[in-house]
Symmetry: C2
Subunit: 226 residues, 2 copies
């Protein structure tokens, strides 16, 4: 039998939570609960089931980690999500702030065959509309060497390569100031204490909240902008 929507969502969440913290510790059930917006007790129960089915390993008070089988399933869901997003933008006129909601539902409904048909129709894209890499059919995912805009020094000229986890509203705002994938951004100044950044996008100056700037991932090899 194939995994339920709930299981798919749990595995995807665990993957995303263990991704940044490089392997050191397991993912806490509380983190999963908060990410999925459900009660901790519900997570406890589900983790037990995931462990029984071989998707995760679990040690109480230490955390959860994905097994190979769990990681494969998580990556499959991420692939589905990102291919769908890219397809909606490229072929059905969606804007980048409209695709997440739709993909969140569709990823549980599409077959592998359909995902691959979309992926091929698009010419095997490597990235989704937010610049996130699309895992290939075997779950291989491109390692990106990106840094958040906030880590650059004043005066840096960089190219926008990816936007992480922003709400539709924030994405619309970023569009409205002219930002899109590949945009050239000049970092004019950084206010202290993680304050706002002043950035230049195509002749125009904008103040950007620190947390939003931290979601803008740009290429380390600067000066791709001409």
């Amino acid at each position: 039998m194939s995994a339920s929507k709930a299981i798919e969502d749990y595995l995807k969440s665990i993957y995303k939570l263990e991704d940044p913290q490089l392997g050191e510790k397991g993912v806490h059930t509380s983190a999963i609960a908060s990410r999925l917006g459900i009660a901790q007790a519900s997570v406890s129960n589900m983790i037990k089931k995931l462990a029984e089915q071989g998707y995760v390993e679990y040690a109480p008070y230490y955390g959860v980690s994905l097994t190979e089988s769990g990681r494969q399933l998580a990556l499959q869901m991420i692939r589905r999500h990102r291919v769908i997003e890219q397809y909606l933008v490229e072929r059905l006129g969606y804007a980048w702030d409209e695709v997440d909601e739709e993909a969140e539902v569709l990823e549980h409904a599409v077959s592998d065959k359909l995902v691959n048909a979309m992926w091929l129709a698009l010419g095997r894209p490597a990235y989704d509309p937010h610049g996130s890499p699309i895992p290939d059919e075997d779950g291989q995912i491109l390692a990106q060497t990106l840094k958040p805009l906030t880590e650059f020094d004043e005066g840096a000229q960089v190219q926008l390569a990816r936007i992480k986890n922003r709400s539709p509203e924030e994405l619309r705002y970023l569009s409205s100031i002219g930002l899109k994938m590949g945009s050239c951004v000049t970092l004019k100044s950084k206010a202290p204490f993680n304050g706002p950044l002043m950035i230049e996008v195509g002749e125009h100056l904008h103040a950007l909240d620190y947390r939003m700037a931290a979601a803008l991932m740009v290429d380390v090899s600067e000066a791709l902008c001409v």
Copy 2:
């Protein structure tokens, strides 16, 4: 709250069951059970819920019939299903025998917005890959004046306009003998007692089982073939 997958499936089934028998009687719970492949007792319970929610009217031992709201929802599901099927064939290289299974799942996952985007991308098609009419956004559906091939006399030359409810295997067989939407078919002979029909499709002669022939809907205004 929006309807669950189960409710959507029930309403679609009831719609399809009450469609041919023009309004006279209600749809029996046993018919619904057999169509959905579930137990009659389960249907009894669900019908109660559907009635509470205003989707159907129900009189025990008489039958179920859709209310206006139930009919709208059913037609919305049928529209989704058929738009998806047409999109898969036209834009993603699916064959007509492969689309039903995929659409059956996707119809519960796509938004109205996505269905309309697909429909517009296709140029507002009026029919799906099997020749079934696609309801418009308001649930209006084109009345077709088609008759099954079995009702024609020997010698009739007709054009294939629609194929009803055939399995993927049967659809593949029909493809393999050269039949597709719009194909010209000459009815050479009909064996008695609902026996097989001999038909000619592009110079080739084939014997066709009566029940399969009865699923081939052709245009009443014959001789569209040249």
